[in-house]
Protein backbone atom coordinates (compact mmCIF):
# COMPACT_ATOMS: atom_id res chain seq x y z
CA UNK A 1 0.00 0.00 0.00
CA UNK A 2 2.73 2.47 0.99
CA UNK A 3 4.79 1.50 -2.04
CA UNK A 4 1.83 2.02 -4.37
CA UNK A 5 1.12 5.39 -2.76
CA UNK A 6 4.74 6.45 -3.12
CA UNK A 7 4.89 5.44 -6.77
CA UNK A 8 1.64 7.27 -7.45
CA UNK A 9 2.73 10.52 -5.81
CA UNK A 10 6.11 10.38 -7.52
CA UNK A 11 4.53 9.86 -10.90
CA UNK A 12 2.12 12.72 -10.28
CA UNK A 13 5.07 15.02 -9.57
CA UNK A 14 6.85 13.75 -12.68
CA UNK A 15 3.72 14.35 -14.74
CA UNK A 16 3.44 17.89 -13.43
CA UNK A 17 7.04 18.53 -14.43
CA UNK A 18 6.43 17.08 -17.90
CA UNK A 19 3.33 19.24 -18.32
CA UNK A 20 5.44 22.34 -17.87
CA UNK A 21 7.39 21.50 -21.06
CA UNK A 22 4.51 23.45 -22.60
CA UNK A 23 6.32 26.57 -21.38
CA UNK A 24 8.88 26.26 -24.20
CA UNK A 25 6.47 27.16 -26.99
CA UNK A 26 5.16 30.46 -25.62
CA UNK A 27 8.72 31.39 -24.61
CA UNK A 28 10.00 31.07 -28.18
CA UNK A 29 6.88 32.71 -29.60
CA UNK A 30 6.98 35.69 -27.30
CA UNK A 31 10.69 36.11 -27.94
CA UNK A 32 10.00 36.30 -31.66
CA UNK A 33 7.18 38.77 -31.08
CA UNK A 34 9.36 41.07 -28.96
CA UNK A 35 12.16 40.89 -31.52
CA UNK A 36 9.77 41.88 -34.28
CA UNK A 37 8.36 44.69 -32.15
CA UNK A 38 11.84 46.06 -31.41
CA UNK A 39 12.57 46.02 -35.13
CA UNK A 40 9.31 47.83 -35.87
CA UNK A 41 10.00 50.50 -33.23
CA UNK A 42 13.54 50.93 -34.54
CA UNK A 43 12.21 51.47 -38.04
CA UNK A 44 9.33 53.74 -37.08
CA UNK A 45 9.87 55.24 -33.62
CA UNK A 46 6.75 57.43 -33.93
CA UNK A 47 4.36 54.46 -33.66
CA UNK A 48 5.95 53.13 -30.49
CA UNK A 49 2.82 53.32 -28.37
CA UNK A 50 0.56 51.37 -30.71
CA UNK A 51 3.27 48.74 -31.31
CA UNK A 52 3.72 48.33 -27.55
CA UNK A 53 0.04 47.88 -26.84
CA UNK A 54 -0.35 45.39 -29.69
CA UNK A 55 2.72 43.54 -28.44
CA UNK A 56 1.42 43.19 -24.88
CA UNK A 57 -1.95 42.06 -26.18
CA UNK A 58 -0.35 39.49 -28.48
CA UNK A 59 2.01 38.25 -25.78
CA UNK A 60 -0.89 37.70 -23.41
CA UNK A 61 -2.70 35.68 -26.04
CA UNK A 62 0.40 33.69 -26.96
CA UNK A 63 0.80 32.80 -23.31
CA UNK A 64 -2.43 30.81 -23.35
CA UNK A 65 -0.97 27.48 -24.41
CA UNK A 66 1.67 27.73 -21.72
CA UNK A 67 -1.04 28.47 -19.20
CA UNK A 68 -2.91 25.33 -20.19
CA UNK A 69 0.20 23.34 -19.27
CA UNK A 70 0.47 25.27 -16.01
CA UNK A 71 -3.14 24.53 -15.09
CA UNK A 72 -2.59 20.83 -15.76
CA UNK A 73 0.52 20.91 -13.56
CA UNK A 74 -1.33 22.72 -10.75
CA UNK A 75 -4.19 20.24 -10.93
CA UNK A 76 -1.74 17.32 -10.83
CA UNK A 77 0.00 18.68 -7.75
CA UNK A 78 -2.89 20.05 -5.68
CA UNK A 79 -6.04 18.24 -6.81
CA UNK A 80 -5.06 14.85 -8.22
CA UNK A 81 -3.39 13.34 -5.09
CA UNK A 82 -6.54 13.76 -3.01
CA UNK A 83 -8.64 12.23 -5.76
CA UNK A 84 -6.36 9.31 -6.62
CA UNK A 85 -5.57 8.32 -3.03
CA UNK A 86 -9.24 7.55 -2.45
CA UNK A 87 -9.44 5.46 -5.65
CA UNK A 88 -6.27 3.58 -4.70
CA UNK A 89 -7.53 2.85 -1.18
CA UNK A 90 -10.84 1.58 -2.53
CA UNK A 91 -9.04 -0.68 -5.03
CA UNK A 92 -6.74 -2.11 -2.33
CA UNK A 93 -9.59 -2.79 0.11
CA UNK A 94 -11.70 -4.45 -2.59
CA UNK A 95 -8.72 -6.61 -3.58
CA UNK A 96 -8.24 -7.75 0.02
CA UNK A 97 -11.94 -8.33 0.55
Amino acid sequence: MELAMGIMLGLLGLGAGCAMIAGIGPGIGEGNAVAAACEAIGRQPECKSSVTSTLIMGCAIAETTGLYGLIVAILLIFVAPGMFTGILKDAVTSMKG
Binding site: I56, M57, A60, I61, E63, T64, L67, I71, I74
Partner: protein, 311 residues
Protein backbone atom coordinates in the same frame (compact mmCIF):
# COMPACT_ATOMS: atom_id res chain seq x y z
CA UNK B 1 -33.91 78.22 -21.27
CA UNK B 2 -34.42 77.21 -17.69
CA UNK B 3 -31.29 76.96 -15.61
CA UNK B 4 -31.32 73.67 -13.74
CA UNK B 5 -30.69 74.22 -10.07
CA UNK B 6 -27.21 73.03 -9.24
CA UNK B 7 -27.01 70.79 -6.18
CA UNK B 8 -25.48 72.51 -3.21
CA UNK B 9 -22.35 70.48 -2.66
CA UNK B 10 -21.76 71.99 0.76
CA UNK B 11 -25.16 71.21 2.20
CA UNK B 12 -25.53 68.72 5.03
CA UNK B 13 -27.84 66.48 3.02
CA UNK B 14 -25.37 66.15 0.13
CA UNK B 15 -22.52 65.27 2.46
CA UNK B 16 -24.61 62.70 4.31
CA UNK B 17 -25.47 60.94 1.02
CA UNK B 18 -21.78 61.07 0.10
CA UNK B 19 -20.83 59.38 3.33
CA UNK B 20 -23.48 56.70 2.82
CA UNK B 21 -22.14 55.97 -0.68
CA UNK B 22 -18.56 55.74 0.58
CA UNK B 23 -19.79 53.31 3.21
CA UNK B 24 -21.49 51.32 0.44
CA UNK B 25 -18.08 51.09 -1.25
CA UNK B 26 -16.12 49.99 1.79
CA UNK B 27 -18.54 47.88 3.83
CA UNK B 28 -18.93 44.92 1.39
CA UNK B 29 -15.16 44.48 1.27
CA UNK B 30 -14.95 44.67 5.05
CA UNK B 31 -17.73 42.09 5.30
CA UNK B 32 -15.78 39.78 2.99
CA UNK B 33 -12.69 40.19 5.19
CA UNK B 34 -14.66 39.43 8.36
CA UNK B 35 -16.18 36.32 6.74
CA UNK B 36 -12.73 35.16 5.70
CA UNK B 37 -11.33 35.67 9.19
CA UNK B 38 -14.24 33.75 10.74
CA UNK B 39 -14.05 30.81 8.34
CA UNK B 40 -10.28 30.41 7.90
CA UNK B 41 -9.10 27.30 9.74
CA UNK B 42 -6.16 27.75 12.09
CA UNK B 43 -3.00 26.69 10.25
CA UNK B 44 0.63 27.56 10.50
CA UNK B 45 2.49 29.42 7.81
CA UNK B 46 1.65 29.85 4.15
CA UNK B 47 -0.95 27.49 2.80
CA UNK B 48 -2.06 27.03 -0.79
CA UNK B 49 -5.72 26.16 -1.10
CA UNK B 50 -8.73 26.97 -3.25
CA UNK B 51 -11.61 29.15 -2.16
CA UNK B 52 -13.12 28.52 1.27
CA UNK B 53 -16.61 27.01 1.28
CA UNK B 54 -18.97 29.06 3.40
CA UNK B 55 -22.15 27.08 2.95
CA UNK B 56 -23.08 23.77 1.39
CA UNK B 57 -26.53 22.34 0.83
CA UNK B 58 -26.48 18.70 -0.29
CA UNK B 59 -30.27 18.47 -0.59
CA UNK B 60 -30.43 20.29 -3.93
CA UNK B 61 -31.79 18.27 -6.88
CA UNK B 62 -29.01 18.24 -9.51
CA UNK B 63 -25.84 18.92 -7.58
CA UNK B 64 -25.00 20.32 -4.13
CA UNK B 65 -25.40 24.07 -3.78
CA UNK B 66 -22.08 25.52 -2.72
CA UNK B 67 -21.58 29.13 -1.69
CA UNK B 68 -17.84 29.68 -1.79
CA UNK B 69 -15.54 32.52 -0.95
CA UNK B 70 -15.04 33.47 -4.57
CA UNK B 71 -18.77 33.93 -5.12
CA UNK B 72 -19.20 36.03 -1.99
CA UNK B 73 -16.16 38.13 -2.88
CA UNK B 74 -17.47 38.78 -6.37
CA UNK B 75 -20.82 39.90 -4.93
CA UNK B 76 -18.91 42.20 -2.58
CA UNK B 77 -16.97 43.63 -5.53
CA UNK B 78 -20.21 44.18 -7.46
CA UNK B 79 -21.84 46.11 -4.60
CA UNK B 80 -18.65 48.06 -4.10
CA UNK B 81 -18.49 49.04 -7.78
CA UNK B 82 -22.15 50.07 -7.61
CA UNK B 83 -21.27 52.34 -4.69
CA UNK B 84 -18.32 53.75 -6.63
CA UNK B 85 -20.50 54.50 -9.67
CA UNK B 86 -23.18 56.18 -7.55
CA UNK B 87 -20.52 58.18 -5.75
CA UNK B 88 -18.87 59.35 -8.97
CA UNK B 89 -22.19 60.37 -10.51
CA UNK B 90 -23.63 61.98 -7.39
CA UNK B 91 -24.43 65.63 -8.05
CA UNK B 92 -23.82 65.73 -11.80
CA UNK B 93 -24.24 69.17 -13.39
CA UNK B 94 -24.08 70.48 -16.93
CA UNK B 95 -20.92 72.36 -16.05
CA UNK B 96 -18.58 70.24 -13.96
CA UNK B 97 -18.11 71.69 -10.48
CA UNK B 98 -16.78 68.63 -8.69
CA UNK B 99 -13.59 66.69 -9.36
CA UNK B 100 -15.45 63.40 -9.29
CA UNK B 101 -17.55 64.46 -12.26
CA UNK B 102 -14.38 65.02 -14.27
CA UNK B 103 -13.18 61.54 -13.29
CA UNK B 104 -16.51 59.98 -14.27
CA UNK B 105 -16.53 61.82 -17.59
CA UNK B 106 -12.98 60.72 -18.29
CA UNK B 107 -13.83 57.07 -17.62
CA UNK B 108 -16.95 57.15 -19.80
CA UNK B 109 -15.14 58.92 -22.63
CA UNK B 110 -12.17 56.54 -22.64
CA UNK B 111 -14.31 53.41 -22.58
CA UNK B 112 -16.65 54.70 -25.26
CA UNK B 113 -13.67 55.52 -27.48
CA UNK B 114 -12.25 52.06 -26.92
CA UNK B 115 -15.52 50.43 -27.93
CA UNK B 116 -16.00 52.66 -30.96
CA UNK B 117 -12.47 52.00 -32.18
CA UNK B 118 -12.61 48.24 -31.80
CA UNK B 119 -16.22 47.37 -32.58
CA UNK B 120 -17.34 50.02 -35.03
CA UNK B 121 -20.26 52.42 -34.84
CA UNK B 122 -22.93 49.73 -35.05
CA UNK B 123 -21.91 48.44 -31.61
CA UNK B 124 -21.50 51.78 -29.87
CA UNK B 125 -24.24 50.83 -27.39
CA UNK B 126 -21.88 48.19 -26.01
CA UNK B 127 -19.86 50.74 -24.05
CA UNK B 128 -21.53 50.11 -20.68
CA UNK B 129 -21.28 46.32 -20.99
CA UNK B 130 -17.58 46.37 -21.87
CA UNK B 131 -16.85 48.90 -19.14
CA UNK B 132 -18.67 46.70 -16.64
CA UNK B 133 -16.56 43.70 -17.67
CA UNK B 134 -13.32 45.68 -17.33
CA UNK B 135 -14.30 47.11 -13.93
CA UNK B 136 -15.55 43.84 -12.48
CA UNK B 137 -12.56 41.87 -13.69
CA UNK B 138 -9.96 44.45 -12.64
CA UNK B 139 -11.42 45.03 -9.19
CA UNK B 140 -11.88 41.28 -8.66
CA UNK B 141 -8.22 40.73 -9.40
CA UNK B 142 -7.07 43.69 -7.32
CA UNK B 143 -9.03 42.55 -4.28
CA UNK B 144 -6.23 40.11 -3.46
CA UNK B 145 -4.11 43.09 -2.43
CA UNK B 146 -6.36 43.23 0.65
CA UNK B 147 -5.59 39.61 1.50
CA UNK B 148 -8.83 38.24 0.10
CA UNK B 149 -9.15 35.39 -2.37
CA UNK B 150 -9.55 36.99 -5.79
CA UNK B 151 -12.69 35.68 -7.53
CA UNK B 152 -10.94 35.58 -10.90
CA UNK B 153 -8.60 32.91 -9.48
CA UNK B 154 -11.57 30.54 -9.53
CA UNK B 155 -12.48 28.97 -12.87
CA UNK B 156 -16.20 29.04 -12.02
CA UNK B 157 -16.34 32.84 -12.03
CA UNK B 158 -14.38 33.44 -15.24
CA UNK B 159 -16.20 30.48 -16.80
CA UNK B 160 -19.50 32.17 -16.05
CA UNK B 161 -18.40 35.36 -17.77
CA UNK B 162 -17.09 33.37 -20.73
CA UNK B 163 -20.42 31.54 -21.10
CA UNK B 164 -22.20 34.90 -21.12
CA UNK B 165 -19.89 36.09 -23.90
CA UNK B 166 -20.42 32.81 -25.75
CA UNK B 167 -24.19 33.37 -25.84
CA UNK B 168 -23.68 36.91 -27.12
CA UNK B 169 -21.37 35.65 -29.87
CA UNK B 170 -23.88 32.98 -30.90
CA UNK B 171 -26.67 35.54 -30.95
CA UNK B 172 -24.76 37.63 -33.46
CA UNK B 173 -23.72 34.60 -35.50
CA UNK B 174 -27.36 33.58 -35.89
CA UNK B 175 -28.17 37.00 -37.36
CA UNK B 176 -27.42 35.61 -40.80
CA UNK B 177 -30.00 32.86 -40.34
CA UNK B 178 -29.52 29.50 -38.66
CA UNK B 179 -29.23 27.64 -41.94
CA UNK B 180 -26.43 29.85 -43.21
CA UNK B 181 -24.56 29.38 -39.95
CA UNK B 182 -25.02 25.61 -40.16
CA UNK B 183 -23.71 25.54 -43.75
CA UNK B 184 -20.76 27.67 -42.65
CA UNK B 185 -19.63 24.90 -40.33
CA UNK B 186 -18.98 22.64 -43.33
CA UNK B 187 -16.70 25.10 -45.12
CA UNK B 188 -14.19 24.96 -46.74
CA UNK B 189 -14.69 21.17 -46.99
CA UNK B 190 -17.13 18.97 -45.02
CA UNK B 191 -14.25 17.16 -43.28
CA UNK B 192 -13.62 20.33 -41.26
CA UNK B 193 -17.03 20.20 -39.55
CA UNK B 194 -15.89 18.65 -36.24
CA UNK B 195 -12.95 21.03 -36.03
CA UNK B 196 -15.17 24.06 -36.72
CA UNK B 197 -17.59 22.86 -34.05
CA UNK B 198 -14.77 22.47 -31.52
CA UNK B 199 -13.51 25.91 -32.53
CA UNK B 200 -16.86 27.43 -31.59
CA UNK B 201 -16.58 26.06 -28.06
CA UNK B 202 -12.85 26.71 -27.77
CA UNK B 203 -13.34 30.49 -27.77
CA UNK B 204 -15.13 30.78 -24.40
CA UNK B 205 -13.02 27.96 -22.94
CA UNK B 206 -9.75 29.66 -23.80
CA UNK B 207 -11.04 33.02 -22.53
CA UNK B 208 -12.00 31.50 -19.19
CA UNK B 209 -8.80 29.52 -18.77
CA UNK B 210 -6.56 32.40 -19.83
CA UNK B 211 -7.92 34.75 -17.21
CA UNK B 212 -8.12 32.12 -14.49
CA UNK B 213 -4.69 30.65 -15.21
CA UNK B 214 -2.92 33.99 -15.13
CA UNK B 215 -4.39 35.04 -11.78
CA UNK B 216 -4.05 31.60 -10.20
CA UNK B 217 -0.45 31.13 -11.34
CA UNK B 218 0.43 34.52 -9.84
CA UNK B 219 -1.17 33.54 -6.53
CA UNK B 220 0.57 30.13 -6.45
CA UNK B 221 3.99 31.54 -7.33
CA UNK B 222 3.61 34.29 -4.70
CA UNK B 223 2.66 31.73 -2.04
CA UNK B 224 5.54 29.40 -2.99
CA UNK B 225 7.97 32.32 -2.90
CA UNK B 226 6.73 33.46 0.50
CA UNK B 227 7.00 29.98 2.02
CA UNK B 228 10.46 29.43 0.51
CA UNK B 229 11.71 32.75 1.86
CA UNK B 230 10.24 31.90 5.27
CA UNK B 231 12.13 28.61 5.37
CA UNK B 232 15.34 30.26 4.15
CA UNK B 233 15.08 32.93 6.80
CA UNK B 234 14.59 30.30 9.49
CA UNK B 235 17.78 28.47 8.49
CA UNK B 236 19.90 31.57 7.96
CA UNK B 237 18.69 33.82 10.78
CA UNK B 238 17.42 31.16 13.20
CA UNK B 239 20.39 31.70 15.55
CA UNK B 240 19.11 35.15 16.60
CA UNK B 241 17.92 35.10 20.23
CA UNK B 242 14.28 34.91 21.28
CA UNK B 243 11.52 36.37 19.16
CA UNK B 244 13.98 37.82 16.64
CA UNK B 245 14.79 34.32 15.40
CA UNK B 246 11.15 33.55 14.66
CA UNK B 247 10.43 36.59 12.52
CA UNK B 248 11.00 35.77 8.83
CA UNK B 249 13.02 38.86 7.90
CA UNK B 250 13.86 37.63 4.41
CA UNK B 251 10.16 37.64 3.56
CA UNK B 252 10.18 41.46 3.59
CA UNK B 253 10.45 43.11 0.19
CA UNK B 254 10.75 40.53 -2.57
CA UNK B 255 7.14 39.19 -2.41
CA UNK B 256 5.90 42.79 -2.62
CA UNK B 257 7.83 43.37 -5.86
CA UNK B 258 6.47 40.11 -7.27
CA UNK B 259 3.00 41.20 -6.23
CA UNK B 260 3.27 44.39 -8.29
CA UNK B 261 3.72 42.26 -11.39
CA UNK B 262 1.47 39.30 -10.61
CA UNK B 263 -1.40 41.08 -8.87
CA UNK B 264 -1.50 44.65 -10.15
CA UNK B 265 -0.07 44.46 -13.67
CA UNK B 266 -1.32 41.01 -14.57
CA UNK B 267 -4.76 41.63 -13.07
CA UNK B 268 -5.33 44.87 -14.99
CA UNK B 269 -3.84 43.38 -18.16
CA UNK B 270 -6.10 40.35 -18.06
CA UNK B 271 -9.17 42.53 -17.46
CA UNK B 272 -8.25 44.55 -20.55
CA UNK B 273 -7.58 41.44 -22.60
CA UNK B 274 -10.85 39.80 -21.58
CA UNK B 275 -12.77 42.91 -22.61
CA UNK B 276 -10.75 43.21 -25.83
CA UNK B 277 -11.44 39.61 -26.82
CA UNK B 278 -15.12 40.07 -26.01
CA UNK B 279 -15.27 43.08 -28.31
CA UNK B 280 -13.34 41.45 -31.15
CA UNK B 281 -15.23 38.16 -30.99
CA UNK B 282 -18.66 39.79 -30.84
CA UNK B 283 -18.02 42.36 -33.56
CA UNK B 284 -16.35 39.73 -35.74
CA UNK B 285 -19.24 37.32 -35.36
CA UNK B 286 -21.78 39.26 -37.43
CA UNK B 287 -22.13 37.81 -40.96
CA UNK B 288 -22.84 41.15 -42.64
CA UNK B 289 -23.48 39.82 -46.14
CA UNK B 290 -25.92 37.14 -45.05
CA UNK B 291 -27.64 39.50 -42.68
CA UNK B 292 -28.09 42.23 -45.28
CA UNK B 293 -29.39 39.69 -47.79
CA UNK B 294 -31.86 38.42 -45.20
CA UNK B 295 -33.04 41.94 -44.36
CA UNK B 296 -33.57 42.72 -48.05
CA UNK B 297 -35.50 39.50 -48.56
CA UNK B 298 -37.73 40.24 -45.60
CA UNK B 299 -38.36 43.81 -46.78
CA UNK B 300 -39.27 42.54 -50.26
CA UNK B 301 -41.66 39.97 -48.83
CA UNK B 302 -43.28 42.62 -46.68
CA UNK B 303 -43.66 44.91 -49.68
CA UNK B 304 -45.14 42.03 -51.66
CA UNK B 305 -47.62 41.27 -48.88
CA UNK B 306 -48.63 44.92 -48.76
CA UNK B 307 -49.17 45.08 -52.52
CA UNK B 308 -51.29 41.98 -52.86
CA UNK B 309 -54.41 43.14 -50.99
CA UNK B 310 -54.26 46.43 -52.91
CA UNK B 311 -54.27 44.52 -56.20
Amino acid sequence: MTEEMAPDIHSKHFKAVDRALIALMILPILACMVLKIIYTPATEGVHISGALVFYQNDAMPVMPLIISESQVNSWGVMISILGLCLYLTHGLTARAVTKRQLVAEWIVEKCQNLVNENMGDYFSAWGPFVTAIIALSAFSSLICLLGLFSPTGDVNITGGWAILVFFLIMHYKFRGGFWNYFIGLFKPIPVFAPMNLIGEFATPLSMAFRHYGNILSGAVISALMASALGGLSQTVLGWLPGVLGEIPFLRVGLPAILSIYFDVFSGCMQAFIFAMLTMLNVSGAVPWDDWNARKEKRARRKAGAAQQPAA
